[in-house]
């Protein structure tokens, strides 16, 4: 494990015991994520990409193998509030304003009132929602709500951001815009990001590293280091280089499927 490794999985396996017998959600996962990486996990449903993200977050416990986050066990990392987690739904509390929602983790972690207000203003600016702190969630569009939930995950000092299909429920136009914003935000904050997605263009556009996963049992089919520059305008998606990487991702997905499809 090198100096820059933030998350490392070694021979990681997770088996769920169900009434229909054991389900191998993850099998022999080996992966290193370096500081400042933007890592996407892509694969069909049931390939364990979300489960893997949840293992990093200590929301699931692996049945075999090891995972370290910031050099600690996943559990210690969670206790140390090492990461912010963005779920597929924004999950904002209707009875709190946008500002109040972002303050929620800060209140739980015991930040002072002035510190809370400062941080709310700072992260709202990061997600381009300045001036919305006194609005209620229902007054915002779905895309804005999701940005607010990203702001909430950024509000405390976690240098890892785990995102589970955060834009999955949004339409393509909003999604493109948010992808662009997310890249800008990543460049400014230098966070390490783990990002689960269904979309090949999204994965290729955002990532420095693309982890292609395959189902039954969930395992890694391919790890692609992106050759794209860090600075990425939206029209980079029409370059041959982009299409090359997308092609490789598609190949990996097809290979992983075997004869299933």
């Amino acid at each position: 494990m090198s100096e820059a490794t933030v998350i490392e999985a070694k021979n990681l396996s997770l088996t769920f015991q169900t009434n229909d017998g054991p389900v191998h959600a993850l099998q022999d996962i080996n992966l290193e994520i370096n500081k400042g990486d933007f890592v996407s996990f892509i694969g069909p449903s049931g390939c364990g990409k979300t489960t893997f993200l949840r293992v990093m977050a200590d929301l699931e416990t692996p049945t075999a193998g090891e995972i370290t986050v910031n050099g600690m066990t996943a559990r210690e990392a969670r206790k140390n509030r090492a990461y912010g987690y963005v779920f597929q739904a924004a999950g904002l509390y209707p009875w709190r304003t946008i500002g109040g929602n972002i303050k929620l983790p800060l209140e739980i972690m015991g930040y002072s009132k002035t510190e809370q207000n400062e941080r709310v203003a700072r992260v709202l600016e990061l997600v381009e929602l300045s001036g919305f702190d006194r609005k209620f969630p229902w007054q915002l569009s779905g895309g804005m709500q999701q940005r607010a939930s990203i702001a909430r995950a950024l509000a405390f000092d976690a240098d890892i951001l785990l995102m589970d299909e955060p834009f999955g429920a949004l339409d393509e136009i909003v999604r493109d815009h948010l992808n662009e914003q997310l890249l800008a935000l990543w460049a400014r904050t230098e966070k390490t990001i783990g990002f689960v997605t269904h979309s090949i263009p999204e994965a290729v556009y955002l990532s420095t590293k693309i982890v292609v996963m395959s189902p039954r049992p969930g395992r890694i089919a391919d790890v692609i280091e992106s050759t794209l520059p860090r600075e990425r305008p939206l029209d980079i998606r029409d370059t041959p280089e982009f299409l090359d990487i997308a092609h490789r991702v598609r190949d990996g997905l097809r290979l992983g499927h075997g004869d299933d499809v």
Binding site: A57, D58, L59, R78, K79, R81, Y83, G84, Y85, F87, Q88, A89, G91, Y93, P94, W95, L104, P105, E107, I108, M109, F136, P137, W138, Q139
Partner: protein, 302 residues
């Protein structure tokens, strides 16, 4: 905030369209009531007429059935007059004042309701947080409601009397016994209403259980709580009235019901009955109002 009230105003139906159905139903009830009074009281009117040796025309028959002293079913205006006489025309401190009796019942209802709500919420919190309590308490809570309250009420009154507790508290205990149940059931459901995602999110912040309770579970349970409180309040009033029956008809709407039936004072029974119904409607409507205001302010009602 201007637009908040704007949408609230336009989305709620106008007063007229909300009141019309209610008034229509009331008109139908009153019409059926008058017809019922004629049908039920006619035999007695005919009986009197036969003994006096006269025959009644239809209009005479109708006017007699609506003006008897001890009718089987008093007409609405007789009940209205009795209520007017025993509320507006009597001093509040008089033992013949319905307001005085109503207050006796209301105080027991409110105390029982407060106790029941408190007990219900406490039990629900325990049930949600402790698996042992979930398995052990819940069956007893359900069993408690299968016992007919009419059988339990006299025992509670007698036992508490024996240890020197009488008056308000025994009645409130019966109200509590009836009203804690909907609160337990509703609050257990409400406190469990946060989604797995919301609970996972709290976990990612390593949130202590008590904080999860105050910041997520309790606010999420509010819509469930109010629904339970409405049922609990109505049950509480029934409890207080039932609690007044075995005390020997001293005071309260229940006592008026009992005294009325001892002496065949049907008009008195019905006026006590109507008063109880109005009281219940007002109390439930009051909770409904608080519910609307609270949930609107919490952004949970749109």
């Amino acid at each position: 905030m201007d637009c908040v009230w704007g949408t609230a105003m336009t989305s709620s139906p106008s007063i007229i369209s909300r009141v019309t159905p209610v008034l229509t139903i009331i008109a139908i009830i009153i019409a059926v009531w008058y017809a019922g009074a004629v049908a039920l009281n006619a035999p007695w009117a005919q009986d009197k007429a036969t003994r006096a040796g006269v025959t009644l025309s239809f209009s005479e028959l109708v006017s007699d059935t609506w003006a008897q002293e001890k009718p089987k079913l008093p007409a609405p205006h007789q009940v209205a007059k009795e209520i007017y006489n025993t509320t507006v025309m009597k001093k509040i401190t008089s033992k013949r004042s319905l307001i005085w009796h109503g207050w006796i019942t209301l105080s027991a209802t409110l105390l029982g309701f407060a106790l029941g709500t408190g007990l219900g919420i406490l039990l629900a919190v325990g049930i949600v947080h402790s698996r042992a309590m979930d398995l052990s308490v819940m069956p007893w809570v359900i069993a408690s409601q299968t016992i007919p309250i009419l059988a339990v009420a006299p025992m509670i009154i007698v036992v508490l009397n024996a240890v020197g507790i009488s008056g308000l508290l025994p009645k409130a205990m019966i109200s509590m016994y009836l009203s804690f149940f909907p609160v337990v059931v509703g609050m257990v459901k409400g406190l469990r209403s946060p989604s797995a995602m919301q609970l996972d999110q709290m976990r990612t912040w390593s949130t202590p259980k008590s904080t999860v309770f105050w910041k997520l579970r309790l606010p999420s349970a509010m819509p469930y709580l109010f629904t339970s409180l409405k049922i609990g309040m109505a049950a509480s009033l029934v409890g207080a009235i039932v609690g007044e029956l075995p005390t020997g008809a001293v005071a309260g709407l229940g006592a008026r019901l009992l005294a009325g039936s001892y002496y065949g004072q049907t008009i008195q029974i019905w006026s006590a009955l109507i008063s109880a119904a109005v009281l219940a409607a007002v109390l439930v409507a009051l909770i409904g109002l608080i519910q609307r205001i609270t949930l609107t302010r919490m952004g949970m009602l749109r």
